[in-house]
Symmetry: D3
Subunit: 282 residues, 6 copies
Amino acid sequence: MTAPTDRAAILIEALPYIRRFHGATVVVKYGGNALAGSEVASFAEDVVLLHSVGIKPVVVHGGGPQIGELLDRLGMQSEFRDGLRVTDAETLDVARMVLVGKVNRDIVSAMNVHGPIAVGLSGEDAKLITAAPHSVELGFVGTVLAVDPSILRRLLAEDLVPVVATIGADETGQAYNINADTVAGAIAASLDAEKLVFLSDVEGVREDPSDASSCIRRLSADRLAELLESGRAAGGMIPKAEACVRAVRAGVRRAHILDGRIEHAILLELFTDGGIGTMVMP
Amino acid sequence: MTAPTDRAAILIEALPYIRRFHGATVVVKYGGNALAGSEVASFAEDVVLLHSVGIKPVVVHGGGPQIGELLDRLGMQSEFRDGLRVTDAETLDVARMVLVGKVNRDIVSAMNVHGPIAVGLSGEDAKLITAAPHSVELGFVGTVLAVDPSILRRLLAEDLVPVVATIGADETGQAYNINADTVAGAIAASLDAEKLVFLSDVEGVREDPSDASSCIRRLSADRLAELLESGRAAGGMIPKAEACVRAVRAGVRRAHILDGRIEHAILLELFTDGGIGTMVMP
Amino acid sequence: MTAPTDRAAILIEALPYIRRFHGATVVVKYGGNALAGSEVASFAEDVVLLHSVGIKPVVVHGGGPQIGELLDRLGMQSEFRDGLRVTDAETLDVARMVLVGKVNRDIVSAMNVHGPIAVGLSGEDAKLITAAPHSVELGFVGTVLAVDPSILRRLLAEDLVPVVATIGADETGQAYNINADTVAGAIAASLDAEKLVFLSDVEGVREDPSDASSCIRRLSADRLAELLESGRAAGGMIPKAEACVRAVRAGVRRAHILDGRIEHAILLELFTDGGIGTMVMP
Amino acid sequence: MTAPTDRAAILIEALPYIRRFHGATVVVKYGGNALAGSEVASFAEDVVLLHSVGIKPVVVHGGGPQIGELLDRLGMQSEFRDGLRVTDAETLDVARMVLVGKVNRDIVSAMNVHGPIAVGLSGEDAKLITAAPHSVELGFVGTVLAVDPSILRRLLAEDLVPVVATIGADETGQAYNINADTVAGAIAASLDAEKLVFLSDVEGVREDPSDASSCIRRLSADRLAELLESGRAAGGMIPKAEACVRAVRAGVRRAHILDGRIEHAILLELFTDGGIGTMVMP
Amino acid sequence: MTAPTDRAAILIEALPYIRRFHGATVVVKYGGNALAGSEVASFAEDVVLLHSVGIKPVVVHGGGPQIGELLDRLGMQSEFRDGLRVTDAETLDVARMVLVGKVNRDIVSAMNVHGPIAVGLSGEDAKLITAAPHSVELGFVGTVLAVDPSILRRLLAEDLVPVVATIGADETGQAYNINADTVAGAIAASLDAEKLVFLSDVEGVREDPSDASSCIRRLSADRLAELLESGRAAGGMIPKAEACVRAVRAGVRRAHILDGRIEHAILLELFTDGGIGTMVMP
Amino acid sequence: MTAPTDRAAILIEALPYIRRFHGATVVVKYGGNALAGSEVASFAEDVVLLHSVGIKPVVVHGGGPQIGELLDRLGMQSEFRDGLRVTDAETLDVARMVLVGKVNRDIVSAMNVHGPIAVGLSGEDAKLITAAPHSVELGFVGTVLAVDPSILRRLLAEDLVPVVATIGADETGQAYNINADTVAGAIAASLDAEKLVFLSDVEGVREDPSDASSCIRRLSADRLAELLESGRAAGGMIPKAEACVRAVRAGVRRAHILDGRIEHAILLELFTDGGIGTMVMP
């Protein structure tokens, strides 16, 4: 057990950070890979902690693996192009049910065990996300045309934590499934957020994609853009890195890519001198 | 086409009602039977009309048929006891996905075509509905233990229309599926609503259940309670009638059971001298 | 009697208009010719309807015929120059009594039968209208030097309907009688109103003044200015047309000249697809 | 000229009174007898002074002599019963024009020379005064059935000075002419005013009506009621004295009957140790 | 150095406490014995930490030793009766200069190094503390007659931390020096505080005054009152214990007597499961 | 005794000034020379009068003579350079105790006899005054680096009167003693004050320093700057004159140097046509 002096020391180290981030909006992208029960509970506890010390968190989540699972159970097969699932009306229905009716619910419930603070949203609510089709071939896969953060601001002003499922709708009400990393970045920019945090399953951005020890602790948005152009980011890191670049260029103070496998990674990043993962600055 | 004089006459007949209900909270239960696409659009248009003239609607919906359909597709079979579906964890997951991720979404989208005004909620959001198990044998079928209408009041104060899927959660975060008629009544009571409106598929409460021409136009909550005790209400009418009795006794000014098959039934009930269906008064 | 379906259709046609004009300021000039008792009641009902659906009406009225009548009874004779009554101190006293103490009162009373919503004002109240003499020969006939809409904004913010008699005062407190059409336009501009509506006794602006069938349904402020310059507007239409041009150029979205002899002309103009009379646009 | 020390002394004597009455509502009844031009200007200046040091004045006025004058000019003859003018519809019209359109205007204008602070009201505005007939024989002479001070509170909250003409209306909108002393008392009671001040043309209430030197400086409402019952008040003093008794019994802290012929009588009463006239206390 | 897991664990242990005390008023009595420079800095840091996580601290301090020191330097001798210093006008002047002009300043300055958050107050400011003489013999030693917490509430509402020197004044403006423990209790009661915390130089209330190991961890106000009556509290513990009893009985939720010699004692008491010192409950 | 007419005349002369200065911020520098008991009471009464008629006074004071007195009693000797006292840590401690703990208290107490309106502040409170060393040789004598008027604005918004002792602190919390004339000017500029008033012990700025009859009634800031450059101001007048020039150039409407020996000098300056002393304009 930690000695009283050490306990006090840790609380006191956290002080300037707690003060600095008081009232700050922090958008957290929570990945679909990390949604086993106990992890959701741990993640929810962290978000509740941020909220309880005056930070205004906004959670954005995907759910690719969970969508695939239900499609399998329904015997529906998907075609993929460039790594994106071709989405017809029926597939979209399944994706929406899973994202809004299952993943979103699991996160909201895990947080509300601590008090009435989380509210689940889809991008369709109060026209939060206006979507456009990504490309004709992909069907109802969408891109972000516009974000209207009014409903988020209203909920944040009421001291609630919005949890956003990344379904958007176009002007006719047609729904689209959108990449959650992209949505997280767009929401952070629309809210002029202090921080955008990605909880990924790697330790951060690597100088050399094949070398786990080459993780970069801090870099500028311009430098990250160069890395992207030089093709040195791969797979799921690409949309995260792109979202970081865009968000920081749009005014978000700091973007972070953290290793979500480390328990309480957000707390350690925000409240200790060390920090963890990769930080992207203007 | 209606003549100018008649047009003016209808607008003017509507005037005292529009004035009387300005700012009034009206809880509308929208049934799962009436969820084909065009009907949702028509229903959504009516709610948007109420909203645009200053009424504060709250929509509560079920979705039994849609849940049954997905269970069928997944090859999951349900046992029924006293007309209620025995609900294990997996069935609950399906029910929640359908209610929150499909039915709720369809209603919200249909309304938001008219502007950014609808926000979908589950009873789990911000601890809106605290549930308790209905009985041990039924598994995760719940009853309403408490309603905390804070999130509804906040959204109404922001001029938004809450659309509520009737999933509740207990203190540990465990979800339950709850009868939507019951939830509608409890929400109306918790909001001290002006009106509680059920859109059903019959013309109203009948003096003689087997005689469609015996529809009662207005009766007191006490008289309706007597009808219930005498066994003269049947099937799906029972939870609606019970909810009407409880809501009116708890302070709701008027409860209505309307024939949702008549297009724009709500508008005709609220804004014309005639009214339609059955009205329950204190 | 209109069928339920038609009733619903009319309510639904009105919906987008009611929504669009919610919260909008609409300045209505009500003419002195139309002040017989039953007409005032009908006009008042229309304004109360606008108010009850969230529109913010401001009524401006004149009262030339009524002034003439009292002058006659008092045996006071007036000289006219260019169609304007030469107004000495005693005549002004009579005009003020009639406008503020009779016409204004009749309109306010007719509205307040429906609830405590109308408040009568003279341009002297809270320095609403600062006047200057129109010309030396005309005595206390004034022009509008400045409008301070503070008192109007305060009353509108309290959900009240200001009814304005068009007496103004200069810095020394000296009162002047001002043309009501001109005042209506100046007030609409000062409030950045959505609409300025003149209730006249013709069907609208005519392409050919002598041809009642040449009524123009919509035209631009510039086109209307041309018509004025070319001398194709006559008599009482001139100050109305001039006020429309000035108001639209000053930012008022739409100005209308309607035929006040059609019952409920305002309702039909605002809430039906057809519209009536002449609409002036930027 | 007063010496600096004396000037300072007077300012300092006024200090505790200015502080005590800051924010206090003071209802002032201004009589029709005192409405010659220069007197109105002097009265208006006094009210503006009260307003400028944070007092919230409400002015109530009559105008009997002015009404009589216009009736004479129109050749209309009046019958009197118990000192009250029998008022038919035409007489009422004249009374209303004079009170609302002339006397009220003169007072408002005189105040607004000093800034945009006065707003004229009739008891018909926003249902300020609900009237009932005084008696069948007297026609449209009214009594006060109810006062709804909402519009007064709104204007006072906006730092404006309401000037009230004592016309009231019944539920059908029918207007009545009401004794101004009675209205002043009812308004003071409805506003829970600090003071009710009558500016009369005598030096105050007399112990002996025929002895000008028997003026009573201060007495209780009960004592004044006794004087009234014993018949020792006469003529115009009766409604004033009755209004004082009723207002003080309804919670008004102090009622005053001052000699309005003394210039700046209100200032001397409120801001100097001496006071003048008769003060009625609980 | 503490491991990441332990760091996270400590932050997470603190979570429910930080949430529970968010917005709570905590009155802290800081003793004169503990005013050496480094201790003030450490104490100030603790208070700033409480403030930064949303707690509303109010600091109350004495300064007996510092007063004695300046009296010595000035060659002024004091007589003591029942442990209280007989205080003539000159002694009071010295006490006030030391408390308000030195001790209060040192605490305020130490806090404001962290930001513009502390504001020094004397009980004379805005009539915070109305005092009465303690007894004739003691001169200007006062007791608390009344606390008007308005100024404290205003500063707390502005997110500032009041630091109160315990000088009070009577209605004539005459100042008195008052025991700081008593003032702290009275202020906590007047603010309906969540907690009253005494930082003393012993480990807490002892069952047996002579036995340091008999410290009581938690007891009721009634039990503490019994201990006081039985004479088992001694010296400086008496006013602290009395203040605890009175404050808890007046509605303060918890009163604590902590050992101020332990660094960061407040943090450990508030934010860890263990707690330290003696807690007094209703 | 002054006659009623004269009393009324004086009140009425004061009217336009009271109205003009309503809500205006007036910074008053009160000198250390004028701190004998009865004078403080008279000064306090004047400030309370200003406050009671809606002016927002801010009092700034020094206390040189009182500091010297306590240093003498403590046997501490001071060295002076260019008229400024070399201030070591111990001297600073004494200065701070005297200014904050004695002079400030005396002024606050004298005002609060009239009601809970004065709040004493040091420049250290809420970082009101950030100081820098004046010069190395003078030790803890400071100059004004920055003024953060937030705490003053907050107290003024709450209708309180701040009384400021002119101690400032640098970023490390180190305190400095600063010339009160300079601080008064800097505070007036930071508050965009209507007026800056110095109560001195001469009749005003002289054209010829040696000729008391050459007092200048009004001059521009530029003209005063010329007088300063030409060396025609002497002694304590220099910092006052410099502060006037700087404040007026920074936007303060008027600066005044009055003879504080005339009783109620502020009242006579503000509220009478004559005015007294020297007025500095842009």
